[in-house]
Symmetry: C2
Subunit: 171 residues, 2 copies
DNA sequence: GTTAGTGCAAACCTTTTGCAGCTCT
DNA sequence: AGAGCTGCAAAAGGTTTGCACTAAC
């Protein structure tokens, strides 16, 4: 795999393919989706203990600028860092469970439709889109209901929850 | 307007309506959309010079948690700060021009459709959604083309990528 | 009078920058 | 050979926290 898609793409632009970049590109390409800089750094350091965190950031910036990776926030479900995924895939939305952190991807025609509508409606030239949906996955909904019930029982005035119901005031 | 929607909403939850919060709520409610914490702070300070930046952050966190405002990233077109808008409006996408920074809002049925599809497909309980579209607005497309032409003329190897600027190197 | 909320300072976390030395082409 | 890239240290930007004081209820 001397010249995978991404690597070749870099070479074509006269961007040097250093050992560090090779490591990072392979990690991003292979290790699935939604890595943040720190995780990527941790993984990269196992292959090259000298590789610096700064190099990770610089490489990510380079790839983002080159349109090879997309930057995600995933609704900041776990902090303010960014997440990255290679841009080879079809347009998709990210569905993030705010309780367990699981991230699903959704490919649907409504995304393409939205894209077309925006292009038409505004005469807009779209370069990138980001759709993130937050809530509770089917598994966590049940657990969540249980948590709420317990909280309502135990506390006089528990904190107002992200959105829907506010626990009954006990006065 | 002693008890506008937002203020009343806070009172109901037993959250104190302080002078600082009153100022911030009015600013957020009135001054349109897409304020970041720093701008909000600047505006608030004009009304109360003692009001602290920290209070802005704490208030925003409170409102976000209470579902009264939504937090946006706007694709980080101008840095890593967050933007806020009141949650009274219908679901909409943000269309961000990466050149001039103009932000448009798009209300369309494809958004509702996506929402329904995700709920169905994953059995997901949606609490919030965020759709951001980046690119060039109709006005900036022309300017952009001109910029690229100029760059191509000056540089040896211009890039086909829309996103990458790469100014000509002068050696 | 209580308790939540505020201001201040300082910490924190993620990301960027300056610079000297190293390395890919 | 030389520009581009890296590592290191330090800074920057945005946001959060600890604590004593203040003010809303």
């Amino acid at each position: 795999m001397a010249t995978s898609g991404t690597k070749g793409s870099l070479r074509e632009r006269g961007i040097r393919l250093t050992r560090q970049r090779e490591i990072l590109l392979e990690l991003i390409d292979q290790s699935g989706k939604h890595l943040d800089a720190e995780s990527l750094f941790q993984m990269a350091q196992k292959r090259d203990p000298k590789l610096n965190r700064v190099t990770v950031y610089r490489t990510l910036k380079l790839l983002k600028k080159g349109g090879l990776v997309d930057e995600l926030d995933l609704l900041h479900y776990d902090g303010d860092q960014h997440y990255y995924e290679t841009r080879t895939k079809q347009e998709h939305a990210h569905i993030i469970c705010l309780r367990c952190g699981k991230v699903e991807e959704y490919f649907g025609d409504s995304l393409q439709k939205l894209r077309r509508q925006v292009e038409e409606h505004f005469g807009f030239q779209i370069l990138l889109t980001r759709t993130e949906v937050g809530g509770y996955c089917s598994h966590c909904q049940a657990l969540r209901a249980r948590e709420l019930a317990a909280a309502a029982e135990a506390a006089a005035v528990p904190l107002p929850e992200p959105k829907d119901k506010r626990p009954a005031r006990k006065v």
